[in-house]
Symmetry: C2
Subunit: 329 residues, 2 copies
DNA sequence: TTGTAGGCGTTATCAA
DNA sequence: TTGATAACGCCTACAA
């Protein structure tokens, strides 16, 4: 394993010159060549550990998410990793299985790994995680009340309001919403939007159509089944995340009902399932790539010591595709 | 940011003693106490970067997978991370989007990050990745011909043979298989098992029932649709991975067919969808946790310089649940 | 533009 | 059992 000294010796210059060359400082053309040759000859690669020790930057970012198996986070992680890498950073991804205690533990773990920053998609929206560190932290998806911090959020209320308004405009009034737990900021906001849309239309909300569970497929399946099997089943359903949407699709199909005819469905997130079905699902698409970009951009700003923490709010998009029936008289 | 020197000064001992204490060397009870106190007082945490530079071990393992969005790999990553962490290692996960070129690039990237080892789920089963490095590499899922290396595989041929034999024993002879690309070792093996089962039963294979595409939901959906819409549709289908299974389920349901009655289906991998349906899907379950454990155990052995590289073959399990109809006369 | 020298925080060696 | 010291590989004043 060659090091700079070795390269310098072979190239006939000092280690400092090699280091400078490697870091973009101008070097005599002749030296450039001999250094390049020596590097090739020795198969030299910079030792990032030594560099980190010296520069106090590890080039890694801790990425902490509730559960790698949730489709939304899987995609988000994938995008964030890519965006980070464009800036020369790599991610250490940790999954805390939606367990707040484990979440705290993993934060310690990541800080011990000398990450330069943390990106956290919190589940515990009341906690004060990583409060005592001075590495920059960007929070994703969920909002936490308290000190000013960096949040990258989507306008959940508006997104679901738009979806529900669309359903209302198509003549639906018995509209179910399959939601996550009320402890989650996103679930609360999405419910708020649901109410808002009814309000705007001058309609009353019927509480039997509001279902709150967890954000996974099983919950989506069970709650949708409940609604469909009730006395006055909804004519339309809003599923508030990708896994719930998958569960809802299965529940509907299992009853021999046709989506977009017997039951209208608006899903969340642009998952494969939405594209693969006939008709395709009308969906609320969270701009995952934009979220990733905003996250990494904000992070880079903080890492270079710029700006004040704040909330970045992105818009989701309602993509009309055909799973909503027009039942206007 | 306190360091060992600082702790040593406060505790009234030398830095060497503190270091030894931290690394499990016996220290006088009295010193132990004062060091502990100093650590607490200064909020000291070992600088892992400096430690790495000195010990030449980074404590990180590169984990390279084709696509984080494939359910099987998502779960695998999740398990491997956990297993690694139990041994004090953390993973840097890279997704190369099933692109062999990107795969090579990411290997370089990870090696530059000074990973102590690599775990690779290759897509390019003919390449010689990371061939020039001396960090241990464990290959997952796919077999690559060539020099002896460490592979953690499941007995794919046997798994699919067992599934198909089960279908045959239930009276099915028109059995479709929705497979991945023939460039993949796993797909080839699974097809081999399909042939083997027919062979054992003294039946001829009808090529029209063999469909090969990619390992994603879309392909699963499309190829299953083709089979179901053909002149003599199969009475049973084997879907050879989790995403294909999901696609197959959707295709079947969309045609108003009942799984386990009109069409029998054997899926792959223990995904939520299999548990959530009624009837539950009969599935081939890959022992993801065992794979993770075997991987990490093998890795630890190589890291401590022990043993020779070799193939670890694990068995998948056929879990009978009710999606296969008994159509014997 | 180049080189010298010192230090980042830790561990390992060796002598006490 | 402890401590002084050197070294891991790199970067960065500073001086030349």
């Amino acid at each position: 394993m060659a090091n700079i000294k070795e390269v310098a010796r072979i190239a006939g210059v000092s280690a400092a010159t090699v280091s400078k060359y490697l870091n973009g400082v101008t070097v005599k053309e002749k030296n450039k060549e001999s250094i390049d040759r020596a590097i090739k000859e020795t198969n030299f690669r910079v030792n990032t550990i030594a560099r980190s020790l010296r520069t106090n930057r590890s080039g890694t970012v801790g990425l902490l998410i509730p559960d790698l198996r949730f489709a939304f986070f899987t995609e988000l992680v994938s995008e964030i990793e890519n965006a980070l890498e464009e800036h020369g950073y790599s991610a250490i991804v940790c999954d805390y299985r939606s367990d707040p205690e484990l979440e705290e533990k993993k934060i310690r773990f990541l800080l011990d790994k000398q990450v330069d920053a943390l990106i956290i998609a919190p589940v515990n929206t009341s906690a004060d995680e990583g409060g005592d560190t001075d590495v920059p932290i960007i929070y994703l998806d969920q909002f936490i009340d308290g000190k000013p911090r960096d949040f990258i959020l989507i306008d959940n209320a508006r997104a679901s309001a738009e979806a529900v308004s669309h359903l209302i405009s198509m003549g639906h009034t018995r509209i179910g919403i399959i939601n996550g737990p009320m402890s989650a900021y996103t679930a609360r906001e999405r419910l708020k939007g649901y109410y808002g849309a009814f309000c705007d239309a001058g309609l009353n909300v019927d509480l039997q159509y509001i279902k709150s569970g967890t954000f996974d497929m099983h919950s989506g399946y069970a709650l949708t089944s409940e609604l469909l099997d009730s006395e006055a089943p909804p004519t339309a359903i809003l599923a508030t995340n990708s896994d719930i949407t998958t569960g809802a699709v299965i529940a509907v199909k299992e009853r021999g009902l046709t989506i977009g005819k017997d039951v209208s469905l608006v899903g969340f997130d642009n998952l494969e399932i939405a594209r693969v079905l006939t008709p395709k699902l009308t969906i609320v698409v969270q701009p995952i790539e934009k979220i990733a970009r905003a996250t990494v951009m904000t992070l880079m700003k903080r890492l270079s010591g710029g700006g004040e923490p704040g909330v970045t709010m992105l818009e989701a998009e309602l993509v009309l595709q055909g799973s909503v029936a027009d039942i206007r008289q």
